[in-house]
């Protein structure tokens, strides 16, 4: 009943825009996860697509083999990715900067090769994923998840935990002196990032309906990193904007035909020259909104209002 009603509701939206809209939603989920790891905690990860692939294959296999209810499936995919996040977080989060980036890259490559050689992932042939076992249409599922992830990220960033992560980004040694268990916090951040990537991967698998281990390679990780950096490291509205723009841009630039990706690349270069901190890096959206409405912004108590700290570049 409710499913039918929602289905009709979704069908009101133009199918082409809906398609782009859902892709944007999935990109936002992925970008927010990476934003927590790279933007807020300052740990450069080049293996985000690997966690996405864990979520995608877990979700896909659970639907194919067991036909599990989609909500259970989605959470299991996230947990599976988080489990791997913790597993590899222990050894590699002791590294920092370039070394960490290379270690995450290595992990992603290893995982890709493993998935390419497992029978359960159908090796190099990939998996065709059937429709998820849920009455709720997938686009609504995706956007509900987006809203939940955004809410969770805001809560995390404004909590004690979030402030600790920020402290680690600014100065790890100083943070440790203040009594922050940096390794533990970093692993926790990594696990949360992996969890959201798993969610994104699971949604991606069911939406695109066909997954192949080679889809989750280095270039996918860089795409996600692009969204986060373009939007502004550490900024939640920034990640949302970056993910939306970078996902929608190739479609809106389609009228340029073969020059499209050229223009797309040039746009990225110019943006990075003129806004090196990202589109919304160093911008407090809350203050902007207040200004537009003509309200005097109420000072926040916590350190997170310090807009100067948003959008710092990764060391």
């Amino acid at each position: 009943m409710i499913g039918e009603y929602l289905e009709n509701l979704v069908n009101l939206v133009d199918a082409y825009y809906l398609q782009i809209f859902v892709n944007i939603g999935i990109a936002i989920i992925l970008a927010l996860g990476l934003n927590l790891v790279t933007g807020v905690t300052g740990q450069l990860s080049l293996g985000h697509a690997a966690f996405m692939s864990i979520g995608a294959f877990t979700g896909g296999i659970l639907t194919i083999k067991l036909g599990m209810p989609f909500s259970v499936n989605l959470i299991s995919s996230g947990l599976m990715a988080a489990f791997f996040g913790v597993l590899i977080g222990f050894p590699i989060l002791r590294l920092s900067g370039d070394y960490l980036a290379i270690a995450t890259l290595g992990f992603a490559e290893i995982l890709k090769v493993i998935l390419l050689n497992l029978d359960i992932t159908n090796r190099a042939l990939g998996l065709s994923v059937p429709l998820p076992n849920t009455p709720i249409p997938l686009p609504i599922y995706v956007w509900l998840t987006v809203l939940l992830v955004i809410a969770a990220m805001i809560l995390i960033q404004n909590s004690r935990f979030g402030r600790a992560l920020r402290a680690i980004r600014e100065d790890e040694i100083a943070a440790e002196t203040m009594g922050i268990n940096t390794t533990l916090y970093k692993i926790q951040a990594f696990a949360i990032g992996a969890f959201t990537a798993g969610l994104g991967g699971c949604l991606y698998a069911h939406f695109i309906a066909y997954i192949n281990p080679s889809d989750f390679g280095f270039s996918k990780s860089v795409d996600i990193l692009n969204m986060v950096v373009l939007g502004g490291l550490g900024s939640i509205p920034g990640s949302v904007l970056g993910a939306s723009l970078l996902t929608a841009a190739p479609e809106f630039l389609r009228f340029m035909e073969r020059y499209r990706m050229l223009v797309y690349g040039a746009l990225l270069v110019f943006l990075m020259i003129f806004r090196p901190n990202g589109l919304l890096g160093g911008v407090s959206v809350r203050q902007l909104v207040c200004k537009a409405l003509g309200i005097k912004p109420r000072p926040r108590q916590s350190l997170s209002t310090d807009s100067n700290m948003e959008g710092r570049r990764v060391k």
């Binding site: 133009d14 199918a15 082409y16 809906l18 398609q19 782009i20 892709n23 050689n117 090796r123 190099a124 042939l125 990939g126 065709s128 991606y204 939406f207 695109i208 309906a209 066909y210 192949n212 889809d215 996902t247 190739p250 479609e251 809106f252 389609r254 009228f255 035909e257 073969r258 499209r260 990706m261």
Partner: protein, 380 residues
């Protein structure tokens, strides 16, 4: 600033909307990459499709309507391919989509076409599990399971080979599945597999395998892998004085096989879906038209498959007397002995195509030469 941005967005929107087409045309979407890693499949497919559309329109179109191709570049990217499929269907209202030449993207696009009841005809997907995705999903490629049995007949009955050595690259899916097809085809034939050796992609030393094979005295080596290993395998065979030839699938079809193998691969054979030598009348006409258009360049497999895809759709539309995919889908499924430029195509009841002939090429004087055109029989 915000005003400027909103004006810009508005302009972009309007540009997108203006693509809305004119009435009285039947639209065919081209799904494929024109840029990026897999553009080498997409560009020739589109070229073939364009020639076919010209021919169709010169002959008066289909059911009184002109045929038009709507093209969009998917860069070989799956989410983008899904966006394009949806755009073709809901914006451009295409009757059918031709493509994608790769199996992976075809599998992404297939559920969208099936859901919206639009025909998808892939001019290139050869992997398994494609047409199983729905009633509206078709392809017109040469499948290994179709090509191998008549080839085995040819080798056993006409060439007189009795003892086959099989070499498989077991970390290569293409190779593993091709060997399986070959072994199935060998069942019940008056010939036997005397050696069954395994190698891995990336291996350099095949002395152990060749020693084993040599002891079994085969007439020919069937190698299901790719050209690099193929060339090295044959070099080792010649080094050990094993003077039999190799044959394999289009994984071996590359100039690199010859440049790397040199004298050792002389006499080796590969089979492919199209070769512009000794053509049928239909194919000859197409080759001449293509050469006239492209400064004497010869068409390849993907040009011919793209051309045939459009022609098959036009044929189905004419027979159904309708350009509605729900109606001409049934006619497309019934196509028998369609004389295409890449071969004769029959769609089986399970929607898989049978394509004839198979082109068997032999390396002679450092170049691929046509050895035989092996006909595939449609067994009912």
């Amino acid at each position: 600033m915000i005003k400027k941005i909103s004006v810009l967005i508005l302009i972009i929107f309007m540009l997108c909307m203006s693509v809305y087409g004119a009435a009285g045309t039947v639209k065919i979407g081209f799904m494929g990459a024109l840029t990026g890693d897999v553009a080498m499949f997409g560009i020739p497919t589109l070229a073939g499709m364009k020639m076919a559309v010209e021919d169709v329109n010169k002959a008066g179109g289909v059911n009184g309507q002109k045929m038009v191709i709507v093209e969009a570049d998917n860069r070989g990217d799956k989410p983008e391919a899904a966006n394009i499929a949806q755009k073709f269907i809901s914006r451009d209202r295409v009757a059918a989509i031709v493509g994608d030449p790769t199996t992976g993207i075809t599998k992404v696009v297939a559920p969208i076409c099936e859901r919206n009841k639009v025909v998808l005809l892939s001019a290139g997907a050869v992997g398994t599990g494609v047409v199983e995705l729905g009633k509206y999903i078709f392809r017109n490629t040469l499948l290994d399971s179709v090509a191998i049995p008549p080839l085995v007949d040819y080798f056993v009955n006409e060439a007189g080979y009795k003892r086959f050595a099989v070499v498989t690259s077991d970390n290569n899916d293409f190779s593993v599945s091709l060997t399986q097809v070959f072994k199935n085809a060998m069942k019940g034939k008056k010939a036997q597999i005397v050696a069954d050796e395994k190698i891995k992609d990336g291996d350099k030393d095949f002395s152990a395998q060749i020693t084993n094979i040599k002891a079994k005295k085969p007439d020919i080596i069937f190698f299901s892998g790719y050209y690099t290993e193929g060339a090295l395998l044959m070099k080792e065979a010649r080094k050990q004085g094993l003077n039999v030839n190799m044959f394999g699938g289009d994984g071996l079809y590359s100039p690199t096989l010859i440049s790397l193998g040199g004298k050792a691969v002389e006499g080796s054979m590969v089979y492919v879906g199209f070769f512009p030598e000794n053509p049928s009348p239909e194919t000859a006409k197409f080759i001449n038209a293509f050469k006239a258009k492209n400064n004497g360049k010869l068409p390849g497999l993907f040009e011919t498959q793209g051309y045939d895809a459009i022609m098959m759709l036009a044929e189905a539309m004419k027979r159904a007397k309708s350009n509605d995919p729900k109606k001409f889908r049934d006619e497309l499924a019934k196509i028998q002995n369609f004389k295409g430029v890449s071969g004769t195509i029959t769609i089986q009841p399970n929607q898989e195509p049978i394509k004839s002939p198979v082109y068997l090429l032999e390396i002679k004087d450092g170049a691929y030469k046509l050895k035989a055109k092996v006909d595939v029989k449609v067994n009912k």
